[in-house]
C-alpha cells in the first residue's frame, strides 16, 4: 500500500517532468524566426558563414532530430549553448541561479518569519484594532504589484534620502572576497529583498491569522487555559503547531511562485539573477537560455509541490491514513 503510493507519486512526477521538457522544447522551436537570422543580418555574413552558425547551434537537423538531441542532452545535464553569450547554458545560468537564490532565499525566510509573527499577533488579539491594522496593511501591500513597490522604495531610499544602493548586486571596482565585498552585496540586497517581503508577507500573516483563530477556539486550548498555561505559551506552543499545516503548503507554493515573481523585482533593481537573465533572453531570443530557465522553474515548482506533499504526510497523521 505504502510502496504503491510512492511508485504512483514518482511516476506522476516523472511524467510531469517529461511533459514539461517536451512542451518547453516545442514552445521555443515553433516560434517564428531563428537566431542565425538575427545574428547574420547584423553583419555581411555570407552563405558559408551562415551555414557555419547553423551547424554551431545544431539547427541543421530536422525538428524531430533536434527534439531527440535536446532530450538526450537534457538527460545528461547539457542544457545547450547560449546563442548570445557563446557559452554553455549551464555556465550562463550558474551565477544567475546563485544570485536569485540569495535574493529569494533571504526574502522567503524573512517573509515567513515576519508573516507568521504578524499573523500570530493579529490572531491573539482577534477583532481588535491591532488585528484590523495588520490585516488591512498586509492586504494593501499584497495587492500592489511588486515592481511598483520596488519603484517606490527606489524613489524614497535612492533619490530622496540616499541611504541604500538601488541597483545591481555590488559596486564596481571592489576586490572580490573580503568582508567589504560581502557587506557591499548585503547593502545591495536590502531593497529588493524588502520589496519581496513587503508584498508577500501578507500571504503568511493572513493564513496564519485565520488558521490560528480557528485553532484558538478548540477544546484543548480551553483545557490549557483552564490549567493556567500562559496566554503566550498557549499561542506559540499549542495552537501554532497545529495551525502550521496550511503554512507549510503555502511556503512550498510560494517558493515555486516567487522564483518567477522575482523577474519583476530583479528587473527593477537590476539584480543579475534568473529573472533578469530571462528578461534579456526574451529580448535577444536566446532560446537555449530560455528553455533551460523555464525547465528549472518547472522543476522547482514540481519538486516543491512534491516535497510539500511529503512533508504534509509527515506532519499530519490523518493524511497518511487516507
Amino acid at each position: 500500500m505504502r510502496g504503491s503510493y510512492w511508485v504512483r507519486k514518482l511516476a506522476s512526477l516523472a511524467a510531469t517532468l517529461y511533459a514539461t521538457v517536451s512542451f518547453n522544447f516545442l514552445l521555443f522551436h515553433v516560434l517564428p524566426g531563428n537566431p542565425v537570422q538575427l545574428l547574420a543580418r547584423s553583419g555581411h555574413y555570407d552563405a558559408a558563414a551562415r551555414r557555419q552558425l547553423v551547424a554551431l547551434f545544431e539547427l541543421n537537423h530536422s525538428l524531430l532530430d533536434q527534439y531527440v538531441i535536446y532530450l538526450n542532452n537534457t538527460l545528461h545535464g547539457n542544457l545547450g549553448f547560449s546563442y548570445v553569450y557563446r557559452e554553455p547554458v549551464t555556465t550562463v545560468l550558474g551565477s544567475a541561479i546563485g544570485n536569485t537564490l540569495l535574493l529569494v532565499g533571504t526574502a522567503t525566510f524573512i517573509t515567513v518569519v515576519v508573516g507568521v509573527w504578524l499573523g500570530v499577533v493579529a490572531a491573539s488579539r482577534a477583532n481588535s484594532l491591532t488585528d484590523a491594522t495588520v490585516s488591512v496593511t498586509s492586504l494593501s501591500l499584497w495587492s500592489m504589484p511588486d515592481f511598483f513597490t520596488g519603484m517606490i522604495l527606489i524613489f524614497v531610499c535612492g533619490v530622496w534620502i540616499h541611504v541604500l544602493p538601488i541597483s545591481g548586486i555590488e559596486s564596481s571596482g571592489l576586490a572580490s572576497g573580503g568582508l567589504a565585498h560581502v557587506l557591499d552585496i548585503a547593502r545591495h540586497l536590502v531593497l529588493p529583498a524588502t520589496t519581496l517581503v513587503l508584498v508577500n508577507a501578507a500571504e503568511f500573516s493572513l493564513i496564519t491569522r485565520n488558521s490560528l483563530v480557528d485553532t484558538l477556539v478548540e477544546d484543548y486550548v480551553l483545557t490549557a487555559r483552564a490549567k493556567g498555561v500562559s496566554r503566550r505559551a498557549i499561542v506559540w506552543r499549542h495552537a501554532l503547531r497545529n495551525a502550521l499545516l496550511p503554512i507549510v503548503t503555502a511556503t512550498a507554493l510560494y517558493v515555486g511562485m516567487v522564483l518567477g515573481g522575482a523577474i519583476q523585482v530583479e528587473t527593477v533593481f537590476s539584480w543579475p539573477g534568473m529573472g533578469l537573465l530571462i528578461y534579456n533572453a526574451v529580448e535577444q531570443r536566446d532560446y537555449p537560455v530560455l528553455e533551460a530557465s523555464f525547465l528549472i522553474f518547472a522543476i522547482a515548482v514540481i519538486v516543491t509541490n512534491f516535497a510539500s506533499d511529503v512533508l504534509y504526510r509527515l506532519l499530519d497523521p490523518r493524511v497518511r491514513r487516507t
Binding site: Q52, R86, P165, N280
Partner: protein, 553 residues
C-alpha cells in the same frame, strides 16, 4: 571591428537601429549606488562610463553588440585607427604604401608592440588574423576581406597584403589583430564557440574583469606602444533603466553616458557640473516599402508602383516629424547618408525633395489613375483600394509617433494606412522573411558601421536580399555603380559615384527617410577634462581617442 553604431538598440544584436524608447527596455543591469557619496574619480583615475546596452561576448570574432565592440577596441588594436575627426591615423601599424592599382598594401608594425602576456606582436600575427578571418568568414569584419587574396610577411615588422580588386576603403581600419599563439591552435568552429574569458590584445587597456550583468573593467596597459592614457582604469557600468543611469551621473557616480534619451536630455541642462552634448550621428530612421518581386511575397503589390511610394513620401512633412516625434533632436532627412558624412552626402535641392507637398501627391496619384473611391480611399483601375499595413516597434516611441503622423498624412492624400506595433525582434523577423515577406510598410532605422559611406550604401544591394536589404530593393544600375565606387581609388571620382547612388535610391523611393537623429551624450565637468565632441559621439564612436586623451581634473 565594425558593429560600431547602435546606440540604443534593444536587441543589441543587429546594427539596425531599433532606437527604442530609450534604453529603458534594454535589459541589463545597473550599478547605481546612488547612496554612496561621490568618490573622487580623479584620485583613483578610474573613468566611469554608464550605459544601458549589455555586452555579449569578449571574442573579437563573435561579438555582435556595440558594447562589446567599445570594450574590445581598447583591448585590441587595428592596424589603422580613426583619429578624433574620424580620419585614418596609424594604429598598430603605419601604412607605408598602396600600389598604383590599389590592390597591394604595405604596413610596418610598431616595433614596441607587445601582447598583454608579454610576447611581441609580429607580422605573423597580422597575417594569421587576416587569413583566418577571410578564409573562414569569421566575424562581422569578414565582409571587408571579401577581396582578400594573400599576404606576405617581409620581416617581423613588415607585412604586405594583397587584394583581388582595388580597395577604396582600407580593411585594415576594421580588422582587430589577434594573437596567433592564442587563436592559432583553435579550429574555426572552436573559435566561433570560444567565449574568450580573458582577452589578450595589444591595445592601450588590458582586460581586468567582467561581472556579468554588472560592469566590465579594463586597466591601463603600462607597456602599450602609444602614449600612455591618463585613466588607470575604465569601468563600464550597466543600467537597466535610463532614469537611474542619468540620476547616477547627476549624483557624481558616473563620468560620461554613452546615450541619453531625448526626453531626459533636456532635464540635464543647467544641472551643476553636468554637460549635455548634442552631436551629429551616423544614423537615420526611415519608412520602408516592401518592393519585393518575389512571387511568394504577400506584400501589397501596389507598392511596386513608384508613383504611390513617391506620393506617400510627398504627403509627409519632415520638419513636423522632427519637431513632434523627435522633440527637435535631429534634422529632417532626404538621402541615405546623414550630414555627418560631409562631402559624401548628396544634396537634393529642397524643391526637388519628396517632402511636405500633399497637393503634388494628389496630382501624381490622379495622373496615374488612382481615383478617390468610397470613404475617401483611392483605388486602382481594378478597384483595389490603396490600403496598406504599417508596422513599427512598440517600444520605439518616436517611430510609433511618426507612424501615427504618417497615417494622418496619407489619409489626406487618399491612402489608407493601418498602424500596428510589434516588439523589435518580432518586427525584425517579419520584415526579414525574405522567402515570403508578408508586410507592406515598416518604420525603423540604420546606423552606419563605419564613417565610410560603403556600409550604408551596401544595405540595399540586390546581393543583400536575405541579408541586410530590408525592403528587397533591387536595381541593377545601383548594384553596378556601387561595385564601381568600391574599387575607385580616386577620391573625387568615387565621390561622384557615391552621389549618383544616393540620387538613384532617392528617386526610386523604396525608403522614405524621415530624419537624422542627434547623438545625445552627457558628461561631468568636475571629474575628467578634455572631452572632445565629434560627429558620432565622444565615446561609443569609431574613434577611441577620447578614452586615451581625457585627463583627471
Amino acid at each position: 571591428m565594425d558593429a560600431q553604431h547602435e546606440p540604443v538598440s534593444t536587441s543589441a544584436i543587429t546594427r539596425r537601429r531599433f532606437l527604442a524608447a530609450s534604453a529603458a527596455t534594454a535589459g541589463s543591469v545597473g550599478l547605481a549606488t546612488l547612496a554612496e557619496t561621490s568618490t573622487s574619480a580623479a584620485a583613483s583615475a578610474t573613468l566611469r562610463v554608464g550605459w544601458t546596452t549589455p555586452p555579449d561576448v569578449m571574442n573579437p570574432f563573435t561579438f555582435a553588440t556595440t558594447a562589446s565592440n567599445e570594450i574590445l577596441w581598447l583591448i585590441y588594436d587595428t592596424l589603422l585607427e580613426y583619429d578624433i575627426d574620424l580620419n585614418p591615423e596609424p594604429g598598430l601599424a603605419t601604412r607605408q604604401s598602396i600600389s598604383a592599382d590599389g590592390k597591394t598594401f604595405t604596413y610596418s608594425l610598431q616595433p614596441k608592440a607587445r601582447w598583454h602576456d608579454g610576447r611581441p606582436v609580429t607580422a605573423a600575427d597580422v597575417q594569421y588574423t587576416f587569413e583566418v578571418t577571410a578564409k573562414h568568414n569569421l566575424g562581422q569584419a569578414a565582409w571587408a576581406l571579401a577581396d582578400y587574396a594573400s599576404s606576405q610577411v617581409i620581416n617581423d615588422h613588415t607585412i604586405v597584403i594583397r587584394y583581388k580588386a582595388p580597395q577604396a576603403f582600407d580593411p585594415a581600419m576594421l580588422i582587430a589583430i589577434v594573437p596567433q599563439h592564442i587563436f592559432g591552435p583553435m579550429s574555426p568552429s572552436k573559435i566561433l564557440s570560444y567565449n574568450n574569458p580573458h582577452p589578450i590584445g595589444s591595445g592601450p587597456f588590458m582586460f581586468n574583469k567582467w561581472v556579468t550583468g554588472q560592469y566590465v573593467q579594463v586597466n591601463r596597459n603600462p607597456h602599450w606602444w602609444g602614449q600612455a592614457p591618463k585613466a588607470s582604469s575604465i569601468i563600464w557600468n550597466q543600467y537597466d533603466n535610463s532614469d537611474v543611469m542619468v540620476q547616477a551621473l547627476v549624483a557624481g557616480q558616473l563620468d560620461i553616458l554613452t546615450e541619453v534619451p531625448p526626453v531626459l536630455f533636456d532635464s540635464l541642462t543647467g544641472k551643476s557640473n553636468v554637460k549635455p552634448v548634442e552631436m551629429e550621428s551616423f544614423s537615420f530612421h526611415h519608412i520602408g516599402f516592401n518592393v519585393s518581386r518575389n512571387p511568394k511575397s504577400k506584400g501589397n503589390r501596389l507598392l511596386l508602383d513608384p508613383t504611390i511610394r513617391r506620393a506617400l513620401a510627398y504627403s509627409l512633412d519632415r520638419e513636423q516629424l522632427v519637431a513632434l516625434a523627435l522633440a527637435g533632436r535631429g534634422i529632417p532627412a532626404s538621402v541615405q547618408l546623414p550630414p555627418s558624412f560631409g562631402a559624401w552626402q548628396e544634396k537634393i535641392p529642397a524643391d526637388q525633395q519628396f517632402n511636405n507637398n500633399p497637393g503634388k501627391a494628389r496630382r501624381l496619384l490622379d495622373a496615374a489613375g488612382y481615383k478617390v473611391g468610397s470613404g475617401g480611399v483611392r483605388t486602382d483601375r481594378h478597384g483595389a483600394p490603396l490600403s496598406f499595413r504599417l508596422i513599427a516597434i512598440q517600444t520605439t516611441d518616436e517611430d510609433v509617433l511618426a507612424g501615427q503622423i504618417f497615417v494622418k498624412a496619407a489619409e489626406a492624400v487618399g491612402i489608407k494606412l493601418t498602424l500596428d506595433t510589434l516588439d523589435n525582434t518580432t518586427l525584425g523577423n517579419v520584415v526579414y522573411n525574405a522567402a515570403a515577406p508578408n508586410w507592406d510598410i515598416f518604420i525603423w532605422g540604420w546606423d552606419s558601421a563605419s564613417p565610410d559611406p560603403d556600409y550604408l550604401l551596401s544595405v540595399d544591394l540586390t546581393s543583400q536580399i536575405g541579408g541586410n536589404n530590408d525592403v528587397f530593393y533591387s536595381n541593377p544600375t545601383y548594384d553596378r555603380i556601387y561595385a564601381q565606387q568600391a574599387v575607385q581609388m580616386n577620391l573625387a571620382r568615387r565621390r561622384t559615384l557615391v552621389h549618383e547612388l544616393q540620387k538613384i535610391f532617392y528617386d526610386d523611393a523604396a525608403y522614405c527617410i524621415m530624419w537624422y537623429q542627434s547623438k545625445l551624450q552627457a558628461y561631468r565637468t568636475d571629474t575628467w577634462k578634455g572631452w572632445r565632441p565629434t560627429r558620432g559621439g565622444m565615446v561609443y564612436n569609431f574613434t577611441r581617442d577620447n578614452y586615451l586623451s581625457v585627463k583627471p581634473q
